[in-house]
Point group: C2
């Protein structure tokens, strides 16, 4: 395709996107398709004839879009806000158009250095000190795996350079909360620690935050059993209830054993753009790494997960690779991001952060986050005040966890009721909520924070919920 | 940003991209900037005032583009072709505009099912049997790490469910070629095997391909020493010279020890779109996993790396995570790609493959690959026929490895000469080539295959080379 053909097709595509985004609130939130339905709309083999863009966009409309759950919809309250602000979409488009390759500084100096600048701007915006240096990963799952690998190598004196983890004699142990994201246990397993060496530390029964005293006890017991505490993952904003693990106390407990502390603030990191919220991660300066995702609540389109570390040298010793064909004269003076993570090749992701910050501005983003906090608080109050409804966990940020418990319903009957009313809303396409387990019972998570969600949408949701249980 | 503001800005951006792509051959190939130069063009802190797109595009032109090494330039012969075909760029833009979220089938059924369809189309196009199922990763480095993790767990009876790799008593061993990509050793190290358990198997001195007999010997010696052969990584197209490891013989040797075989065809996989080339990976059906990157020579914009496995159940047992909030009624009937790799969240990458195949067509892609093979062969012939020039390795595909050795120059003097003439071309901005080590001496890799590179560009390169050594 020539640049001129691209120009014509690109204009058509931009109009298609603008039209789609304008019409999102007329669409169902949850895709109304059956398993296999989208797949069966495609031929079983590759095309033998050429298409033009118009015909492709027509098929995109009829064969693909019906299969997309509209997470940009103002009535989407599922999982977490996965905002793709249109300003950041422009940055993503610029990145695609430029078509650069990030495998070394030399392969695209701008890709490397704009990433450094954006990571530093975001560091300042969430109030981290200048002791931290950042990079962009695809997701917080990947950052957590990198943290586990670095922790493993630190605790084993870089065993990868000799016999590897399989030569370690005192088993290395990892600690996290049962409320932490599933990717934490997954990362610890992939790093080779094994289930037997992962402790799910008790949480407080009211706040669902990790108990630092229980962490200290677990580590002491492991040491007595001949194990070596290697890493603790603190969740700043757990997945289920957005509980805030006490970072300062965790850092202190971990320090007794020189264990690595990784702070997983994937969702709640966006909240740290608000100075009045930052007390919730007090102690973060004592951690070893922190990750958070602008691609969630902040709204820089996926994938854009920030990973900050204090000890870059350690990170590079674990993750580096330096074959001759990637060496350059500039090596001593530049950042080689390939030595900071798993993939060698990287996209120019920093552009979407740059466009987002320049075109929307941090003040507007902060205002939106405050709006969402107020909307969640409002919804929590309505639920608390209503008969038979309960808020199951503190509303620390923008997630409201709720059960409707008529006539003291409990056990299986309550679970059936909970899943039933959530499903009736979800299946209608009018809104989307995520059922989740808490204390062995199903509840419903309402994650407020889609860019388009205003107060009247939350009011509309509360109406839907009351009608759904009626 | 509203959809209407996006529409206006989007049109402006499309024109900017079309203009940039039209003017690429007027730009230097290698970015002509010093370390820190791009960074210093940015303010040290985030913006306090709003910009509009025009002002941002002006800064993109003046502050960013000069720092981009133009890998879409017809005179780019460095590293590998990193083609970003404009048809696939359109698919990437559609993906950004749609702004969907891939964390489960339910979060975007179309994202999952179109990925299944595209992986299957590409499977057919490279002639793999229907025993393989694929997914899209960011890079082949990530796929290789996943392969090492799966191999580790297979060889240890899923030790991650108990004491992990650190509880394994017979050390697990990995085998690859010293010519394999640096990401292979990195993946084995990150998986925890340790340097002491990685064998770099001897290669043939002429073809640079792994010697299957040496592999068999190395595995037997390890077994005698109490180790367990766990994995072999065969390079189909090594990084240095595009050497082809003998997959059939490697599979046979590995089978003696039930070792997992991963085929890394990151670069050369695109060549398998040509039926006449497929004999180069004969035996691939006996491997356990294969990865290759449409985002290289085939030209679907980065990131788009395909990863095929035969035993999906094993892959899912190693990589799965299934928390309550991600469970859905459809779980039994659908593919949950989160259980196939490291990240939980994924972009809708399949769209760029779909757009690329529909708008360009496989025939045009095949024709271009054949053009590049012929251009590389032509260049190899010119070099062979010229005084003092030598082709250092067989030209298996589109990579030509070359030295200019006047008056029997050798050792340090030759290295200095080699790096000197390559640098003079690179620094001029007229073309870009990658110096690399082979047999302990520097040589220059010429990787033909940029979408825009026609025969006259290769002729021009050969002129430049002759003048550079003169």
């Amino acid at each position: 395709m020539t640049p001129e053909e691209f120009r014509t097709a690109g204009h058509e595509l931009i109009d298609w996107i603008a039209d789609l985004r304008s019409s999102i609130d007329e669409r169902p939130v949850l895709a109304q398709v059956q398993p296999g339905e989208i797949r069966s709309g495609f031929p079983t083999g590759p095309p033998t004839e050429l298409s033009d863009l118009s015909s492709l966009l027509e098929r995109l409309d009829t064969k693909v879009v019906p299969g997309i759950t509209q997470v940009q919809h103002p009535m989407h309250y599922g999982w977490f806000p996965s905002n793709a602000s249109l300003s950041s979409v422009l940055g993503d488009i610029a990145s695609s158009g430029i078509g650069s390759l990030g495998i070394s500084w030399e392969s695209s100096p701008a890709l490397t250095e704009v990433e450094e600048v954006m990571c530093d701007w975001l560091r300042q915006l969430v109030g981290l000190s200048d002791q931290w240096r950042g990079s962009i990963n695809d997701t917080a799952s990947t950052a957590c795996l990198v943290a586990m690998l670095v922790a493993r190598e630190r605790a084993s004196d870089l065993a990868q350079n000799t016999g590897g983890l399989q030569a370690v004699t005192s088993p290395l142990a990892v600690y996290t909360s049962p409320q932490a994201h599933s990717s934490v246990a997954k990362a610890a397993l992939l790093a080779g620690f094994g289930w037997d060496n992962i402790t799910m530390v008790d949480v407080d029964p009211v706040t669902y935050a990790m108990r630092a005293d229980a962490l200290a006890d677990a580590m002491a017991a492991d040491v007595a059993a001949g194990k070596t505490p290697a890493a603790v993952v603190a969740a700043v904003g757990t997945t289920g209830t957005t509980a805030m693990d006490p970072v300062a106390a965790i850092v202190e407990a971990a320090a007794q054993h020189n264990a690595f502390v990784h702070v997983d603030a994937a969702m709640a990191g966006s909240a740290m753009l608000l100075p009045e919220i930052r007390h919730l991660w007090d102690g973060v300066e004592g951690a070893d790494s922190v990750s958070w995702n602008p691609h969630k609540w902040m709204g820089t389109i996926l994938d854009c997960s920030l990973h900050y570390v204090r000890d870059v040298e350690l990170l590079e010793r674990v993750m580096s690779t330096n074959p001759s064909y990637l060496q350059s004269q500039a090596d001593e003076q530049v950042t080689q991001y390939r030595n900071w993570g798993i993939p060698l090749g990287r996209r120019f992701r920093a552009l979407k952060l740059w466009f987002h910050l320049e075109l929307d501005g941090i003040e507007a983003i902060q205002e939106r986050l405050r709006r969402d906090l107020a909307n969640a608080a409002w919804l929590g109050e309505q639920i608390e005040a209503a008969d038979d409804w309960e808020v199951c966990a503190p509303v620390a940020l923008q997630t409201v966890c709720v059960r409707h418990r008529p006539d003291g319903l409990s056990g299986e009957a309550l679970d059936e009721h909970t899943l039933g009313w959530a499903r009736s809303i979800n299946d209608s396409g009018a809104a989307y909520l995520t059922p989740s387990m808490l204390d062995g019972e199903w509840m419903v998570r309402i994650s407020v924070g889609v860019e388009a969600t205003e107060r009247h949408h939350v009011e509309q949701l509360w109406d839907l919920m009351q009608r759904a249980v009626g």
